[in-house]
Symmetry: C2
Subunit: 127 residues, 2 copies
DNA sequence: CCAAGACATAGAGGGTCATCGATATCCAGG
DNA sequence: CCTGGATATCGATGACCCTCTATGTCTTGG
């Protein structure tokens, strides 16, 4: 408890907003979604998410994640904390090991925003 | 030409990667997508994207965008430059005014990544 | 209790970012 | 050419972020 790393609201990570093109985002909506994107907007964290998500069973142990990078163990721990704090990953400690698991609702929240509402009469890619 | 604001590659903004859960992202893939997300990961830029996207005709004049915020004109200009540099917005100057327009391919690139591949046997929300 | 391993936290250093005021650039009109 | 309006760029400032080393906390095993 010092910085503001996990001052989020993982509660309603369901889907805060309609697609970008549906209507202008309110300031509150934007400030709710931006931290999610910010948590994702790092190459290391993107690969961490992908490593966890692509794992059979949908979860990965920190020990495996550490081995996948040339970074120090505290650095990986930091990134996992950011992802967990943003509500993108669930944490599950079993014995000595800690397993992380993707929280689908958080990703769905982003997907809903980016959802391809082809925009009113704009560039139609498919027809 | 000083910082590295628009050192991106708006060329192949089509869809660099399979969904997060399909397989681990390579470092190159992660470093290609992360700047896109980073450009989006700001409340102001999120609202700018939404304002442009939701506009009838799919484009918005900077003059209108400026009025939608309590920020200075240079600040809005800066954010638009970031979005343009990331390949998320197209720029079109007509006379004295400049119009921005969402580049659908860039958003599609993100959508493809987040696309809900429900993960191998993980949390099934609907079934 | 003690040792060892897995993971988290603390604090520091160096880089990047958001924002501003001031100023430059570009275009239209007279 | 000069004025005026619309945007972009510059330079500074304060905040935030990524990474590290060092250290703490928790759990298993003897």
């Amino acid at each position: 408890m010092s910085k503001s790393l996990l001052r989020l609201d993982p509660v309603g990570a369901a889907a805060c907003c309609a697609p970008l093109a549906a209507q202008p985002l309110s300031r509150d909506q934007a400030e709710q979604i931006a931290p999610l994107l910010k948590a994702l907007a790092d190459p290391v964290r993107l690969r961490l998410m992908s490593l966890v998500a692509s794992r059979a069973g949908g979860e990965a142990c920190v020990c495996d994640l550490n081995d996948a990078f040339d970074l120090s163990q505290p650095t990986i721990s930091h990134h996992l904390k950011v992802l967990h704090g943003a509500g993108l990953l669930n944490r599950d400690k079993r014995g000595v090991w800690v397993y992380y698991r993707v929280r689908p609702a958080a990703l769905a929240s982003i997907a809903a925003l980016i959802a391809s509402t082809p925009a009113p009469g704009s560039v139609g890619v498919s027809g």
